[in-house]
Symmetry: C2
Subunit: 127 residues, 2 copies
């Protein structure tokens, strides 16, 4: 196993949280999880590969939608337990709801207000 | 309990991951965790309050360093299980190592290279 992977403090499920930031805009697109294998695949392929906790399987972002994430950098934080990756977002949409990014609810007057438009109907993304 | 807090899918420890992004620069400063009480306090005070998993206690960011985070927005993602907050970072440093942000190790040639300078000696921050 590559030693750079051993520097990471994986949690008791063998995972680390990953923040995905768009290179061009600085927008935080999404938050996901990686295990060793997904990070190694990300490193090797240059496309973001995560671990799906709900499906308990490797998940190449974009495998269904075509909206792949091309990885420009991989950074590790001071606690060695969180990754920040910068990406080029193919298709301009990271969210399965057809929005640019996943953080589309903003707290306002103690309500979650939708503050991002749907760019494409999910039925047309996941045919 | 306020209903906006009930919309959040807290994990089995009663926590959600929180991404902290600097408003002016777009820089992702750090990644931390909140429980209900810390999020309510953040909402009420306008300063970021987290849950320290290592100390098992509420933790107002900046309480030791003076480097408080003034919260400009609180956003929730499509899965209702991750928060993104934008902040003004007092003192210009979010990291306990004296750096601007916590993601200062960059993967390069299968090594983690330090790519951010120390702005202030931690001994001078935490006196």
């Amino acid at each position: 196993m590559a030693s750079w992977l051993d520097k990471i403090k994986w949690n008791n499920e063998g995972l680390v949280p990953v923040i995905v930031q768009e290179l061009d805009t600085g927008q935080v697109l999404m938050h996901a999880w990686m295990n060793r294998e997904s990070l190694q695949q990300t490193r090797n392929s240059g496309k973001a590969v995560f671990w799906s906790r709900s499906r308990q399987s490797l998940w190449t972002k974009g495998e269904s939608s075509g909206h792949f994430q091309l990885v420009e950098s991989i950074k590790l934080d001071c606690d060695f337990d969180t990754l920040l990756i910068t990406v080029k977002q193919e298709g301009g949409m990271a969210c399965h709801t057809g929005r640019h990014h996943c953080f589309f609810m903003t707290l306002s007057d103690d309500e979650w207000q939708t503050t991002e438009p749907v760019l494409k109907d999910p039925h047309d993304i996941y045919k």
